[in-house]
Every structure is written in structure tokens, then in C-alpha cells.
């Protein structure tokens, strides 16, 4: 049995945003119609950084609105892209003349709606897009299918572009920096138990005892394979090895590792995964220069985790380390 705690499905996202905004009233404002979230204290004279997408991935993106990260987040309904009209209104609200960089996770719906919004504003606003497509599981030798999904690398993109924008870096460079982070990142996810559909109360899939889904995204969908669950260390090793290869990491390279909980994964479990991530990389002479461990890009209450590696350079480290003050990330 499983169940989503709410009043009614219709008002879920709206009420959650109200509650969220009240709990962080010093940091963010919610604009109700069309719906989007901005910093409480707008920062002008800098490139505006905006992201968004379906809800159900909290703290992404609304939890990353604030100084040093996003200027606005545009939440859709659960697992549903926001509309172009929402995105347009958010851009209009935060663009203070230096242009807007939109961080878009690569899903057909998001790409459509964010692109339409940018087109609607083509005459009056400069809008650039960073498309995040880090999920290795969806890599295919294909004819222009939807391509890799955008998952937890989006946190690195938002943090680094956010710091750059805050530092006054101009729009083209903020965009290129974001694209560079994407190009240097890869993610793989696994799930031990599916998430609860808030409408039906049912899990998005069922697993037999001892089975897991390998290569899941962040929308409750099955992965690319059902596998037997082994030891944590073996699974983490197989994930990390593929990421190292995909990112093209070599001995003495330096990485950011994001060990991300998909919703119902406990801190003890994530810590065990983080431990082995470090050991596997150590074994290959790769240095975890920075890491982030926790539920940052969730898939409702899915039990599972993803690991993201981003190859670092000195300037990326500098932007990662720059101060940030948002509901979900503070340093």
C-alpha cells in the first residue's frame, strides 16, 4: 500500500508552493497566475538565470532560487512541463536587461514549452538556453530521438551558472559555461522501489523481491533493465565505472560527485553509496574535489539513487564554491 499525502490532486502543486514559499519567505516569492517562483529580493544588473520543469523533483528547481543560483523557477504540474505562458511570464519578471539563460532538462515537453516561450519574446528579450542531457541510460545511436534525459547534473549547471551570473559574467559566457558543465557530466540512476502516483496512489511499477531497475530517470519510469540487487559496493562500482568512461576521466583528474537520493532513500544508504563512489574513484587515481550527497533531484517518493560525475576545472571549482543562499543549498 502506498499513498500520497495531500488534499486533492488538483491543488497539490499550488498548495505545496504556498507552503514552501511561506516556509522560506525571506528568500522566495510565489507568483500565482501564471505560476512561477522568484527571489524575494530581485537582483538586477546581471544575467537572469531561470529553470523549471515538472514538479515532483523537489527541492529542484524551486529550492534553488536565491542568491548565487536561480532568479526564477517555473514549476509545472507533477512530472509535467510548465506551459510556455508560465515561462514567458517568469522571463519577463526577472530579465533586468542583461538577458536570460534558461536551464532546460532535455524532455520533449520542456524543450517545446521553453522554446516557445523564448520565441514569443524574441523581439524584446535575449534568451539563451542550456540543455541538460546527462543521463547515460538514455543514450542511443539514433535518428534524432529525444536524446539523453536531463537529470541531476542540472544541480551543477544551476550552481555554477548561478555563481557566474552573480559575478557579472555576460550572457553568452554564462550559457557556454553551462554547456561546458553539461558536456563534462554524466549520470546513472537505479531504483529499488517505484514512486507513488499522486493521482492513483499506485506505484509506477512493481518489482519482485531482490530486483531493482537499472538506468531509471526521474519520472517513475522503469529503467533500461531489471537486475538482481547485489551488494551496494558492487552496484556503485558498476555505475561509477561507466560514468568515468563516459566523461572520459583519467588518472589525476578532478571531479564533482553528486550522490543523489531519488526521494525515499535514507541518509544511511546514500552515505554508503558516497563512500564507495570515493573508493572506486580513488582506485583510479581520480580525485573527488567536491561532492554533494542528499536528495536534490527526486522522483516523488522513489527509493533509489543516482550518481553524477562532473569533470572539474579550476574555474568550475571557483563557481561551485561561491556563496549560495537558497532554500535547499546554503554555503
Amino acid at each position: 500500500m502506498s499513498r500520497f499525502f495531500m488534499n486533492e490532486r488538483e491543488t497539490l502543486v499550488e498548495q505545496a508552493l504556498e507552503g514552501f514559499a511561506e516556509s522560506h519567505s525571506g528568500l522566495v516569492d510565489v507568483h500565482p497566475d501564471p505560476l512561477f517562483v522568484t527571489r524575494r529580493t530581485p537582483t538586477t544588473g546581471k544575467v537572469a538565470l531561470l529553470s523549471g520543469g515538472g514538479s515532483g523533483h523537489e527541492p529542484l528547481h524551486t529550492g534553488f532560487v536565491g542568491q548565487g543560483m536561480l532568479d526564477a523557477a517555473v514549476p509545472g504540474d507533477v512530472f509535467t512541463s510548465p506551459t510556455a505562458l508560465q515561462v514567458r511570464a517568469a522571463i519577463q519578471a526577472v530579465d533586468s536587461g542583461e538577458g536570460t539563460v534558461m536551464v532546460v532538462k532535455n524532455y520533449t515537453g520542456d524543450v517545446l514549452n521553453f522554446s516557445i516561450a523564448a520565441e514569443l519574446l524574441a523581439d524584446t528579450h535575449r534568451v539563451e538556453q542550456v540543455l541538460v542531457d546527462d543521463d547515460l541510460a538514455t543514450e542511443r545511436e539514433d535518428d534524432g530521438g529525444p536524446g539523453r534525459r536531463g537529470t541531476a547534473a542540472v544541480v551543477a549547471v544551476e550552481k555554477i551558472c548561478g555563481a557566474a551570473a552573480e559575478a557579472g559574467v555576460p550572457i553568452a559566457q554564462v550559457r557556454d559555461l553551462g554547456r561546458r558543465v553539461v558536456a563534462r557530466s554524466a549520470t546513472l540512476g537505479v531504483s529499488f522501489e517505484a514512486c507513488t502516483n499522486p493521482e492513483t496512489g499506485r506505484r509506477s511499477f512493481e518489482l519482485e523481491p531482490g530486483e531493482m531497475e537499472f538506468g531509471v530517470g526521474i519520472h517513475g519510469e522503469r529503467g533500461i533493465q531489471t537486475r538482481v540487487i547485489g551488494k551496494a559496493d558492487d552496484l556503485v562500482e558498476s555505475l561509477v565505472s561507466r560514468l568515468v568512461e563516459a566523461v572520459g576521466l583519467r588518472r589525476s583528474d578532478s571531479v564533482l560527485a553528486i550522490v543523489n537520493g531519488l526521494g525515499a532513500t535514507h541518509g544511511l544508504e546514500l552515505a554508503v553509496a558516497a563512500r564507495q563512489t570515493r573508493r572506486v574513484l580513488d582506485g583510479q587515481g581520480i580525485d573527488i574535489t567536491r561532492s554533494l550527497v542528499g536528495p536534490y533531484v527526486t522522483s516523488l517518493d522513489m527509493k533509489g539513487l543516482s550518481i553524477t560525475l562532473t569533470a572539474l576545472t579550476d574555474d568550475l571549482v571557483k563557481f561551485w564554491d561561491a556563496p549560495v543562499r537558497t532554500p535547499a543549498l546554503v554555503w
Binding site: 507533477v78 509535467t80 512541463s81 506551459t83 517545446l112 529525444p146 502516483n197
Partner: protein, 218 residues
């Protein structure tokens, strides 16, 4: 194709050769009912081969569309289709903008009752726009697999009345939707699952079949 024909049509599109505003409205309201009643089915398909929100997305949009439809004055089909398009455009997701575009192009059709040729032309433009925006072809396992064969029937129709033509289109759309069972998806979330979602019908294509089938009782 004039208001006069429309008048002989008792104003509700139930007798004439042409689709009137009232007829389009009835058709769309029947579609709303069909989708609302079958939302769980669509959600289940999207659960198996997507992210499980399609039934919710499309029925929320169409419920909003119903409110809009109830307020319009039934002057011509374009207005009815545009009303539904607006509801989809306020919906987000993948299906929101794509159906929004599809119905939006229909909404840009002639502002008078539509004969079979107008129907064919309007659906031709609409389906072409979805294919372009979605970069989807027949065989990619999307709504396009139902839209394209139905549109071809309408374009090539030799039928005299809109009802006959749409009824033939409904059969083609249904066959198109059924054909998505057994396809490996190349677009949309089902493509992430490759062979694993092969046997599942595409919910978008099923919804398109329901749309054409909803003209039946009008």
C-alpha cells in the same frame, strides 16, 4: 458552405453535409466525456510506457476546454477548436503544446461551416504542424501514428458529408493507434524504455482515435 445551408441544418450539425459550429461543439464535448471517462486507461498506458500523467494532463485540459466550450456562441467550427486549443496551451507537458498546436491550427480554419474539403485542408495543416514541432513520423509511436492516417482519409475523402468522412477517419485513426502496439518508440518517454514498452499502445495515439470516434453520436 453558406449560412443558409447551416440554417437548414437545424443549427446543430446533426443533419447537414457540413460541420457547423454547433456540430463541432457537440463533437468536442463528446470527446471531453470520452477522455474524462477513460482517463485512467490513458494513465495506465502512460504508466507502463511513460510517466503516468497523460490521463491526468489531457483530462484536466479538456475539462478546462469544456468550460470554454459551454460559453461560446457556436458560430463556426474554428471557434470551438480554438477554445479547446487554448485549454491545451494552458496545460504544459508534451501533449499540452502538441494538442494545443493541433487544435490551434484547426481553430485557424474557415469561419463558416466546413464541408469535407475544408475539413481535409484544416486537418492537413494541423497534423503537418504537429509532425514538424514533434519531429515525429509515422512509426515513431506517438499521437502522429493516429493523426496521419486519419488526416489522409480526410484529405482524400470522396464522402459527401463530414460525418461520413470523419467516420472513415476514425477507423483509420483507430488502426493507427492499434499499430503502435508492437512498435519500439522513437519519440516521447516511451523511447527511453526501448523494447520494454513495445507492447504498450501509445496513449496519445489512442486519444486521437477517441477524438475521431467521438463524432459518431453527433
Amino acid at each position: 458552405m453558406t449560412k443558409v445551408v447551416d440554417m437548414t441544418d437545424k443549427g446543430n450539425g446533426t443533419n447537414g453535409a457540413e460541420l457547423t459550429g454547433a456540430g463541432a461543439k457537440m463533437w468536442l464535448l463528446a470527446f471531453v466525456d470520452r477522455v474524462v471517462a477513460g482517463a485512467d486507461e490513458l494513465t495506465e498506458l502512460d504508466r507502463e510506457a511513460g510517466d503516468g500523467d497523460f490521463g491526468w494532463n489531457i483530462s484536466s485540459a479538456l475539462k478546462r476546454g469544456r468550460e470554454g466550450l459551454e460559453g461560446i456562441d457556436e458560430a463556426h467550427p474554428a471557434q470551438a477548436f480554438q477554445t479547446v486549443a487554448d485549454a491545451f496551451l494552458a496545460s504544459g507537458g508534451t501533449s499540452g503544446p502538441l494538442f494545443g498546436l493541433w487544435f490551434g491550427r484547426l481553430g485557424a480554419g474557415p469561419t463558416a461551416p466546413w464541408g469535407v474539403p475544408e475539413l481535409g485542408a484544416a486537418f492537413g495543416t494541423a497534423t503537418e504542424a504537429v509532425r514538424r514541432l514533434g519531429k515525429a513520423e509515422v512509426g515513431h509511436k506517438t499521437m502522429v501514428d493516429a493523426m496521419v492516417p486519419a488526416t489522409e482519409v480526410l484529405t482524400d475523402a470522396t464522402a459527401r458529408t463530414w460525418r461520413e468522412a470523419v467516420s472513415e477517419a476514425a477507423r483509420a485513426a483507430r488502426a493507427g493507434a492499434e499499430s503502435t502496439g508492437g512498435m519500439v518508440a522513437h519519440r516521447g518517454r516511451a523511447s527511453y524504455l526501448g523494447e520494454r514498452a513495445k507492447d504498450v499502445l501509445d496513449p496519445g495515439a489512442v486519444a486521437v482515435a477517441w477524438f475521431f470516434e467521438s463524432a459518431e453520436g453527433v
